[in-house]
Amino acid sequence: MEALRHTINAFATPTTIYLSSVALFAIAMWKMEIVVKPLVMIPVVIVTVLGTIFALTDDHFFKLVTLPDNIPITIMLATVGYFTWYALKKGVENDKRLSENRPLIEQEQDRRVMTWPNLVYIEFICLIAITVFLIFWSIGFQAPLEEPANPTVTPNPAKAPWYFLGLQEMLVYFDPWLAGVVFPGLIVVGLMALPYIDPNPKGNGYYSFKDRRLVIGYYLFGFLIQWVLLIVLGTFMRGPGWSFFGPFQEWDPHKVEALTNINLSELLWVKLLNIGLPKNILLREGVGIVVVLGYLVALPPLLAKTIFKKLYQELSFIRFQIMCFLFLAMLSLPIKMILRWTINLKYIVAIPEFFFNI
């Protein structure tokens, strides 16, 4: 048992967890028809449940998970997990029906029925059920209250509410103006823009997967990996000093991590060229600026010519530009994470003089 815990602790680093989650996600996207089969999912559920039970035997993990403010995360994980599977299973089912030219599930249910009592009654039952759920939750767990607010003593770790922990985790990799302002803004804008940049007329009003693989993958990557996974990392594995801890590792406020990050300009001018940083800011950060501009401006046409050729034809120029910008912005997080883990990169463009760091 102890050995297993140690192995898991050793395995659990942001790099491994993130990358393996991405890999699992890619596999699921690729072979969704198989993944959603009960034959696959039942063992997964069993393993998850057993794993959770095993994990709960650990004192530290148990305390962490049963912390009243962390209960919603557990509920969120369970519901999001279940509903993702449920929606995809229905989608796959509908895909199958389409390919066999059978009517969709939803098409079989196109009878018009009276709202009273059918809808009203189930709604009523649902609402009572959710009230019951809430009442028992309230009886079981007391709302947390810590010591009186003290502006001079910062608790360690100081965490945002759980639903914003994804953003806080992003702050490890990006400056606040990006992680705290621009990215949340882009998430909102991107979500609102979704109906306008998704040209696919299929899959409107019924569950589907195959016809919308790209956009579903895009959405699920953002939701599950970039949001939910980062919340889990931020809540359960970020301890004092925002240091990373394995699930069964005691949170030690004196943990020391090797953290020496380097800017792209330092990497280039000092490490590679060995001539020291130039005085001129533009010259100093030139490469970084070029890289960023290249990523955001030059890459879209390139993509339009190559892998997104079909998409480019479906969308108009502006829509494609917007789509590409949002897509690249989302991808920038994993890219930056990987750069951090591989070459300890801090900033691609570092102009602290104007609070402009990327």
Binding site: R111, M114, N118, F124, I135, P148
Partner: protein, 929 residues
């Protein structure tokens, strides 16, 4: 498909029965949930405690009722009252008819009175309003003035008549009433007497009705959802007006609801109950309205800490006093340490830490036994020398000066001592710096040897020359030395193995091994006058004669510690010397410079350098006076607000102890280097606090002190008042501490430890109670400057402390402040050496044979020292005129247990005018004799 559609009822897509079932299930769950919600909200621990207390009270009340009614049966007072009532009742019966008549009359009179009163009142209000109208009319020059005036006049006349009628009716009424009263007076009086006799019973019965078992009390009052009407289970709060909880953004009034569970905390009579229904163990000091800390004005949390607003065992922040209690609480109350509160409750043994919040500048906190012991220990151990604590820095360094060390001890002795002081003298206050938990390995030991050698080398090279005059011990007797040691009062400060230990810990060093340390010459010189070797020494001059010095010296020289003498000393390894030198150098210069510098130094220079750096590293100069470190800063962490530091700032390392402040401090004191365990650290980076070898009890005391060092917002008027008198008392107490006066004398009912060595208190140093009232300041001053013999029968002697004028005055002021004496100069009246008064004094003096005990010097050799009293020749210069009067009247009152008989005052009976005269006459006689 089409067929199906026809059969389909759009009203019922789902099976209604199934939905009904679902509806029923969730509704039942909802009902259960709601009931659970109410139950959760209603069920509180404090209610159970109040219920328990109520059962207790019911039982007590019932017992009391039985007892009181039993008493009442036997009480003659009650019987008499009963009898009186009976007879009065009979009397009344005789007059029954009269009474009946009178009552009937009274009813008639009442009617008349009411009617006439009504008429009067109506008329009165009419005249009042007419008067107002008249005023108005006059003011407006209205034409109706005259009309109103006539009307008013008429009405006023009517009013007079009505008034007369009313008063007559009242008179008649009152008369009848008084007749009735007369008839019933004796019954009423008897009833009142009876009521008075049985008032206890009535009160108890009333109480029993109020709290006893009944449907209303047991069920209705505290039923869930109805318990707002008139509940018996109530949250009790003490709102303390001007003590605050600091919520950082605002200070809010302290609200303590502790008494919700601790119901009986300020009530006498529940001492034997288990907590929380127990009475406070020290009601004389706390909570009661007569104590200095009444509960309504101070509450609970100001002393105990914890969250006063909480009604829950865990949230209130209860702290167990040990592991076992923690286990018990976990089982009983689901206890766990309270994380989220800045001021947790302190375990019982540390509670007195919070005394320091208000009693900050006080020495000897009244009734604060533990905190006083803690302060003594802290000062003796020199804690506040290395760790700065605002207001606690000691004037004198607790360790001896090292400026002339080479003449005092040998180099070998010094090395062994520094390495492990307790191996020479287990009771020493000097802590051990080497061979501790983090320096036990072979390499550390070698480094320690080098450091010790370095210190010795440094001290030796800096030592000033000092040569004590040589002394011959010819004719000296160890036996006589031992005798002297016990008699003259050395034991007031020192201990030695020939005499029982009376003080723990001691003020001065234990001298059982001192022969292995010092030379005869040095001891003799020191005994003669300690200040010539070390001017700041607190050892006083005992005014020893040459022969006494010889005896004592030879006695002390005979006290040897052979085990220590035979101890082997580890030699300093040259390679380690080089390494250590380099490491110290590296800290101040670049690696290259350090290497060059080290290469240029000789071995001696290196040792000297290592010594200097080591002394700086360990802060030896904080406790000892060392040449070259006059301006060095103490090395310890400042502790002024230690207990207010947030817990994460304490490094618990890998030590498995409860994560709270008191455990950390206690652990640190028991094993100062423990938090290095399991860490890889360079030798010089390791923790360096030395090992004091505290006993667990002592460590708890010092922890108590440290826990008291915290932020304090108590308003000034809540603290003990610092008037002029109290300032003087504190200054005096500080001097008492500094000079260990209490080692010999009892002052303020404390101290006098040396007295245990004498057969009777008469043989030991006097109790200093009341000396402020007793002594003339001039004489007192002279005495402290150069003590003279007052009690010739004593062997123990008052040493010459060599007080400065400042200290002398402070001491005199202190004793006088204790007795509330303020006048420095007093007049002793001119007294005649003749006349009746003088003769009466002389006669009385002779009658009572005062001279028998109060002999005057010179004393012949066969004088009876057993029953001697101070010579009366001292009186005119020594004693205050007023005091002598008081003393003669009742010596026992001023000094309980004194041998002086009370000649004039017996058994609390007032003195006769004759003996009044005698007292005055004797007193005056003493002043002019």
């Amino acid at each position: 498909m089409a067929e199906n559609k026809k059969q389909f009822d759009p009203d019922h897509l789902f099976n209604i029965l199934k939905l009904n079932k679902w509806f029923a299930i969730v509704s039942i769950l909802l009902l259960l949930g709601v009931v659970g919600l109410i139950k959760k909200d209603y069920d509180r621990d404090w209610k159970n405690w109040q219920r328990k207390f109520r059962s207790l009270e019911i039982k007590n009340t019932k017992d009391e009722i039985t007892k009181v009614s039993e008493d009442l049966k036997n009480s003659s007072e009650y019987q008499e009252a009963q009898a009186k009532l009976d007879s009065a009742g009979q009397e009344l019966k005789k007059n029954e008819i009269d009474l009946f008549k009178l009552k009937k009359e009274l009813a008639d009179h009442e009617n008349t009175r009411f009617k006439t009163d009504r008429v009067f009142r109506d008329l009165k209000s009419v005249t009042d309003s007419l008067r107002y109208e008249l005023d108005e009319a006059k003011h407006h020059n209205d034409r109706s003035v005259n009309r109103i005036a006539t009307r008013l006049k008429k009405k006023e006349a009517e009013l007079q008549v009505a008034r007369a009628k009313k008063e007559a009716a009242e008179a008649v009424y009152n008369k009848t009433q008084s007749q009735i009263n007369e008839l019933t007076a004796s019954t009423k009086a008897a009833q009142a007497e009876l009521n008075k006799a049985s008032s206890d019973l009535t009160r108890l019965k009333k109480k029993e009705r109020a709290i006893g078992r009944s449907f209303v009390n047991d069920v209705l009052r505290d039923a869930p959802l109805l318990d707002f009407i008139d509940p018996s289970l109530k949250v009790k709060e003490i709102i303390v007006d001007d003590l605050y909880d600091d919520y950082n953004f605002a200070k809010i009034k302290r609200i303590d609801s502790c008494t919700t569970c601790h119901v009986a905390i300020d009530k006498v009579g529940y001492e034997d109950q288990p907590n929380p229904l127990k009475t406070h163990p020290k009601l004389d000091v706390y909570l009661s309205s007569r104590s200095p800390h009444p509960i309504q004005e101070y509450g609970c949390t100001i002393c105990h800490g914890g969250m006063g607003g909480s009604l829950d065992f865990v949230h209130a922040g209860h702290a167990p006093k040990n592991e076992a209690q923690a286990k018990e609480w976990e089982k009983k109350y689901h206890w766990h340490p309270l994380k989220h509160w800045d001021d947790p409750m302190l375990p019982l043994q540390y509670t007195q830490a919070n005394c320091l919040g208000c009693h900050k500048k006080e020495i000897d906190v009244p009734k604060g036994d533990r905190i006083n012991q803690a302060i003594f220990l802290v000062e003796r151990s020199g804690c506040v020398q290395c760790h700065k604590v605002e207001g606690w820095h000691l004037k004198n360094k607790p360790g001896p000066t090292l400026r002339k060390i080479s003449s005092k001890v040998s180099e070998e002795w010094l090395s062994k001592w520094i390495r492990n002081p307790k191996s020479f003298r287990p009771t020493t206050a000097m802590p051990r710096f080497f061979d501790l938990t983090n320096t036990k390995d072979y390499e550390s030991k070698a480094r320690s040897s080098v450091q010790v050698a370095g210190i010795v080398s440094y001290l030796k090279s800096k030592a000033q020359p000092y040569e004590p005059p040589s002394v011959s011990l010819e004719g000296a007797s160890i036996e006589q030395g031992k005798q002297l040691f016990g008699d003259i009062g050395c034991l007031g400060c020192h201990s030695i193995d020939d005499y029982p230990k009376i003080m723990q810990p001691q003020f001065g060093p234990d001298l059982s091994d001192v022969g292995s340390k010092l030379s005869a010459n040095w001891i003799a010189a020191w005994l003669k006058n300690p200040k010539q070797y070390w001017p700041d020494s607190r050892m006083p001059n005992m005014r020893l004669s040459e022969s006494e010095i010889k005896h004592l010296t030879s006695y002390l020289l005979s006290k040897r510690n052979t085990a220590f003498e035979e101890q082997k000393l580890q030699k300093a390894d040259p390679r380690v010397i080089d390494k250590t030198t380099l490491e110290f150098l590296k800290a101040r210069m670049t690696l290259k410079e350090a290497q060059e510098k080290a290469a240029s130094m000789s071995k001696e220079e290196k040792l000297h350098f290592i010594g200097e750096r080591t002394i700086a590293h360990y802060g030896c100069y904080s406790c000892h006076d060392i040449d070259g470190f006059e301006n060095a800063k103490p090395i310890g962490v400042e502790l002024t607000l230690e207990a207010s530091k947030p817990l994460p700032r304490f490094d618990f390392g890998f030590v498995d102890i409860p994560k709270n402040l008191q455990s950390w401090i206690y652990q640190k004191l028991m094993e100062p280097r423990i938090f290095d365990t399991g860490k890889e650290k360079a030798y010089l980076d390791r923790l360096r606090m030395p090992q004091f070898d505290f006993t667990p009890e002592q460590a708890e005391l010092v922890t108590t002190f440290v826990l008291g060092l915290k932020k304090d917002d108590t308003p000034l008027h809540r603290k003990p008042s610092y008037d002029n008198n109290i300032d003087r008392i504190h200054a005096g107490r500080a001097l008492l501490h500094e000079n260990n006066c209490r080692g010999c004398h009892i002052v303020e009912d404390m101290g006098g430890r040396i007295l245990a060595n004498y057969e009777s208190a008469r043989q030991g140093p006097p109790n200093l109670k009341g000396v402020g009232q007793k002594l003339q300041p001039d004489w007192f001053y002279q005495f402290l400057k150069a003590p003279s013999v007052v009690r010739p029968w004593l062997n123990v002697r008052m040493p010459t402390f060599g007080f400065s004028d400042h200290d002398n005055n402070a001491l005199i002021n202190y004793f006088r402040a204790l007795d509330r004496q303020t006048q420095n100069y007093e007049t002793i009246p001119e007294l005649a050496r003749s006349g009746d008064h003088y003769m009466l004094g002389k006669k009385t003096f002779e009658t009572y044979q005062c001279q028998n005990c109060h002999k005057s010097p010179p004393y012949p050799p066969d004088t009876d020292m057993e029953n001697m009293a101070p010579p009366l020749t001292l009186v005119p210069k020594r004693l205050r005129y007023e005091w002598v009067d008081d003393w003669l009247r009742d010596p026992q009152k001023l000094m309980p247990g004194t041998g002086m008989p009370g000649f004039f005052y017996y058994d609390g009976k007032p003195m006769t005018p004759e003996s009044e005269d005698e007292v005055k006459a004797v007193r005056d006689y003493l002043y002019v004799r």
